[in-house]
């Protein structure tokens, strides 16, 4: 198994409150890795550790190892370089105060692509992948913050794809998106899997079931179980997991 992200002994706490306790798991390359679990179980914290946006939370204390391609992210000198390799979609959509076009073109421009045609093409491709193109093609110049919630969320997805990340982290990407569009995006994700590793945090257990190759179940800031999705959903080792995936919980 070709491991892209290796996590071992990861502990995170916000002040006195632990958010992740002794988490160890491996995420294989070019697969979709589902992360499920109830609220407050540490799913988002896990993502934040991967691209080190957890650094923004001053009360967070992190110990343990998170390695991307064998490199410990906490020893990296250039954290910006790391973040450019990881696309991140947050649960609450954040349209930056730029136009729709500039939102998507931001990362490519930063990477040095200034050719008008190339940019146009790239922006269109990313917006199509995020199933947003048809809705915004006539108003690429409006502010990203003026789009509706679901549109902004897809804009965030397009933006995350725009810098051709090796790893795509999706944190509840579909909460503001209607089921039909969600299905279309899910198809895109299955395609994207060929070229990137996708970490899918979701509250929709069935979404993880549909998409993920392997799935991890978190509860109360601990990794309860991690394994191939099929196994986790049919005969998990832990009774708690079975309860959660079948909807009998709490």
């Amino acid at each position: 198994m070709d491991v892209q992200i290796h996590i071992s002994g990861l502990n995170v706490s916000y002040g006195d409150k632990p958010a992740l306790r002794d988490v160890s798991l491996d995420i294989p390359r070019n697969t979709i890795f589902g992360v499920i679990g109830p609220a407050n179980s540490g799913k988002t914290t896990l993502l934040k550790c991967m691209n080190r946006t957890i650094d923004f939370i001053s009360s967070a204390r992190v110990t343990g190892e998170v390695a991307v391609d064998g490199q410990n992210v906490y020893r990296m000198r250039n954290v910006y370089q790391l973040r450019r390799r990881i696309g991140m979609v947050f649960p609450l959509p954040v349209g930056l105060p730029l136009s729709v076009y500039d939102n998507v073109a931001y990362a490519p421009r930063r990477a040095g692509i200034h050719d008008r045609h190339e940019l146009d093409e790239l922006v269109e491709k990313c917006l199509r992948q995020a199933v947003l193109w048809d809705e915004v093609k006539d108003r690429l110049r409006t502010l990203g913050t003026r789009l509706s919630g679901g549109q902004q969320q897809r804009l965030t997805l397009a933006r995350a794809l725009s810098h051709r990340p090796e790893i795509l982290c999706l944190d509840e990407f579909s909460i503001a998106i209607d089921p039909v569009t969600t299905m279309k995006i899910e198809d895109v994700l299955l395609e994207l899997k060929q070229s990137m590793t996708i970490v899918l945090v979701t509250n929709l257990v069935q979404q993880a079931h549909r998409l993920a190759d392997s799935t991890a179940f978190f509860n109360d800031s601990r990794l309860v179980e991690c394994g191939p999705t099929q196994k986790l959903f049919t005969r998990p080792d832990n009774p708690l997991t079975l309860k959660y995936v079948t909807g009998v919980f709490g």
């Binding site: 691209n51 946006t53 923004f56 001053s58 910006y80 370089q81 973040r83 450019r84 990881i86 696309g87 991140m88 947050f90 609450l92 954040v94 930056l96 105060p97 730029l98 136009s99 931001y106 990362a107 930063r110 110049r141 409006t142 502010l143 003026r146 965030t156 933006r159 995350a160 810098h163 909807g247 009998v248 709490g250």
Partner: protein, 354 residues
Amino acid sequence: MPKRRPRVNPRRRPRNRQSDVKAAWTNKLNLASGAMTMQRQANTARSGIGWCAQLGRATHWLLDISELPMEWLIRLCGWSAIFFVFAIFFFVLKEGAGVLGKLDLKEFLTSPNWRPDSAVRPQYGILALLVGTFSVTTLAMLIAVPLGLGSAVYVSEFAGRRTKETLKVVIELLAAIPSVVWGFVGYMVLGPIIIRLTGAPIGINVLNGGIILALMSVPIIVSVGEDALRAVPDSYREAAAALGANRWETVYRVLFPAAKKGLLAAVLLGVGRAVGETMAVLMATGHAVQIPHSLLDPVRTLTATIAAELGETVAGDDHYAVLFVIGVVLFAVAFAVNLTADVVVNGWRGGRND
């Protein structure tokens, strides 16, 4: 009355406990509000209800009728700002009105000759004063805007928590220094330094006034600008970071556009302070009526002229009235600056910024 929800099958209880509780609450709330409506409609039904509930209902009723005066009070507060601005404007205009007929407006605005005390032919040309105000203000802004915004960015984005607290306290202290003290500093401290460094004959001049005004405006720009930057949600910073933006790119490409209105307000307040400042410029600019040819020439500003000369005039005479017309000019300048800034940020139609 609301329909009672059907009882949940007891066998499924563990799974649906939450929705059960919710349903119970919804029922209660519906019952309560239903009762309240009935009470208010009929204003009867006193039996069987505890006085506590009645009190609750009474306060609720009170709150409801106090809505209207409250609304008017708030409306009054809002309109009072407009009222005061107009009142001041009309007062100033009224005092100056007497001379408006006699005043040659062209000469008033374009002549550099300010000789109000001339016994033969008093001349009221404010061009030199206008240039004085603009030169000092412009210089002050050239210094204060980059310094103030840079400092705001540092305090809000880069400084550690302790540095931040210290800086904020010191900056607020700086804002609290009275303008006459600033004038004193300009006159006694900065003046000699300027003479020593530049070899200028007089140390109180455009440069001195500009620096002093800049130092006075910086605290306002910093504290308002820092508020504006801090009001940008952290999610923007995180989103920018997730795209691989470094700190400077985040500030430049994300925070500035997001906070542009607040930052503009910060700059405007700084400009306002610089244009309106009187005592400090009176002391630090040299108070000589002339159009400056270099930074080292003394000038006189509109505000300093009013402050220095109003006491010498006879109420109601031409000189007195002309000083009030200068006040109107200051009003117009402030209005123009605000309007321009508003147009720059919002466009002609205002509001929409896409």
